[in-house]
């Protein structure tokens, strides 16, 4: 039996680049970075940079009653989910929404709720806590609220794999369509990591830069955190064709591996295996890959390992394809990054424009590919990959291609 083709028919993006996929794409292709000083700063932390959502007011999106149940990461998930469903032309199609699935990843879950709670308990010495602490803060809260507020009544659950949570959620949705369990899935991830406890914890890992995010550069010095949510509507080809859906492109396949080596240090072998599996699973030939949206965190170890893996898999073709890290613009929004980056990848493919690696200075000696420095580039993209790797060596690669019937 032929495998069901999966099409991307809707996108929603909330990030430091703004609210809405249009803002996201306009700023990515213009090479505009959302990274800036945290204003107001978060007390008692050395991390002073971030890519926060500009001018975000939850009251513009939710009623007080809805907000009582929504941690910030759930708010962002619901905003992006509503956009993706609307973008797919499904907002008035109750029957389709009702039977859809919602698989929502998160790297850190409801930290705003959790940390507020711990602050009250440990610092303010309060003896009673708010009754909604658990339902707001649980890692599956975003999946719950997306299901409830959009009326999605198929399978809904959360996926957690740190910075690959969005990719793993997207791949899970693909597998559900391929298994015939759903025709339409809403997939993605959300993270809101600007809390004191998380910033202090990231600072303790000594991977956050005081400069800015400069992926693949000789003077790179680490990550800049971001916040946001990326959501996609995936649809079986048959279902999309039947209703005449607008198609961004085909989600052609995916690869997943685990390094099984180190909790934080990436392994190029594990990454290479994930890329190979994505090519094999999608049927995309090596030479058909014109663009790779890199994991590209700008840590010393990731960028070298990722570059080595791309060279190992693609050989000479590695020098002909373009690689860029959009984290240089939307920051590292943990699990949400992987979903936002697949949106960047499919929009790049659709428009034939490769978003650059912003903040680029001089390439590292061990990072010698074409990283599309600072300026976007027009290029027909037949197929593209989106790489996302997580702590624990959990690697995901998703392949997309231009859609033709």
């Amino acid at each position: 039996m032929m495998r069901r083709r999966i099409l991307i028919t809707g996108v929603g993006a909330v990030s430091g680049l703004g609210i809405g996929a249009d803002h996201f794409w306009d700023r990515l292709k213009a090479g505009k970075s959302a990274i800036q000083s945290l204003d107001p700063p978060i007390e008692d932390t050395k991390i002073a940079l971030g890519a926060r959502i500009p001018d975000y007011n939850p009251d513009h999106f939710f009623s007080p009653e809805e907000l009582s149940l929504l941690d910030r990461f759930s708010q962002l998930a619901v905003i992006a989910a509503r956009e993706a469903i609307s973008d797919a032309g499904l907002e008035d199609n109750g029957a389709v929404i009702e039977s859809a699935a919602a698989i929502i990843g998160s790297g850190c879950g409801g930290k705003h709720t959790d940390e507020d709670t711990y602050d009250q308990l440990y610092r303010q010495q309060k003896s009673r806590l708010h009754p909604l602490t658990i339902p707001r803060g649980m890692p599956s809260a975003a999946a719950c609220m997306v299901s409830m507020l959009l009326g999605i009544r198929g399978p809904s659950f959360a996926i957690a794999s740190a910075c690959a949570s969005g990719s793993h959620a997207i791949i899970q949705g693909c597998m559900m369509i391929q298994a015939g369990m759903a025709d339409v899935v809403l997939v993605g991830a959300s993270d809101a990591p600007f809390t004191l406890g998380l910033l202090k914890s990231w600072d303790a890992l000594r991977v956050a830069t005081k400069d800015t995010c400069r992926p693949f550069c000789a003077d790179r010095s680490g990550i800049v955190l971001g916040e946001g949510a990326g959501m996609l509507v995936l649809e079986s080809e048959r279902h999309a064709e039947h209703r005449g859906a607008r198609v961004y492109g085909e989600l052609a396949g995916f690869g997943m591996t685990s390094d099984a080596t180190h909790i934080t240090r990436p392994d190029s072998e594990g990454i290479a295996r994930a890329i190979e599996k994505a090519l094999e699973n999608s049927g995309v030939e090596h030479e058909e890959v014109d663009y790779i949206n890199a994991h590209g965190t700008a840590t010393l170890t990731n960028d070298v390992a990722e570059t080595a893996a791309i060279k190992q898999v693609f050989g000479d073709h590695a020098n002909r394809l373009a690689v860029s890290s959009t984290k240089s613009m939307h920051g590292h929004a943990l699990g949400a990054s992987s979903a936002l980056e697949l949106i960047a990848t499919i929009l790049a493919t659709q428009h034939g424009i490769i978003p650059p690696t912003a903040n680029f200075t001089v390439a590292d000696d061990l990072c010698d590919l074409d990283y599309v420095p600072n300026q976007s580039r027009s290029l027909e993209i037949h197929s593209a990959l989106s790489n996302s790797f997580a702590f624990g060596g959990l690697n995901t690669v998703i392949a997309v291609r231009q859609y033709s019937c």
């Binding site: 009623s63 708010h130 009754p131 909604l132």
Partner: protein, 75 residues
């Protein structure tokens, strides 16, 4: 614990207008489900610095019940 104080707290929890609340208004009519009822008890405990025992919950169905049952509950 006055009626007006309790009505304000209920209005905040039920996201309704305090002026629409009467002593014999049932919590159910205000859309207060089990989860909102627990939230309401939390807000009452916070406002009046009292501890409401779980056993009292089943005895509360109207605004007047709150005044009758909770006034005098130990802090």
């Amino acid at each position: 614990m006055s009626f007006d104080q309790v009505a304000e707290i209920i209005a905040k929890t039920a996201h309704c207008n305090a002026a629409d609340i009467e002593p014999d208004t049932s919590l159910e009519a205000l859309g207060i489900d089990s989860l909102k009822a627990i939230t309401l008890l939390f807000e009452l405990e916070e406002a009046f610095d009292i501890e409401i025992p779980n056993e009292l919950i089943a005895q509360i169905s109207t605004v007047q019940d709150i005044l009758d049952r909770l006034d005098g509950v130990d802090s």
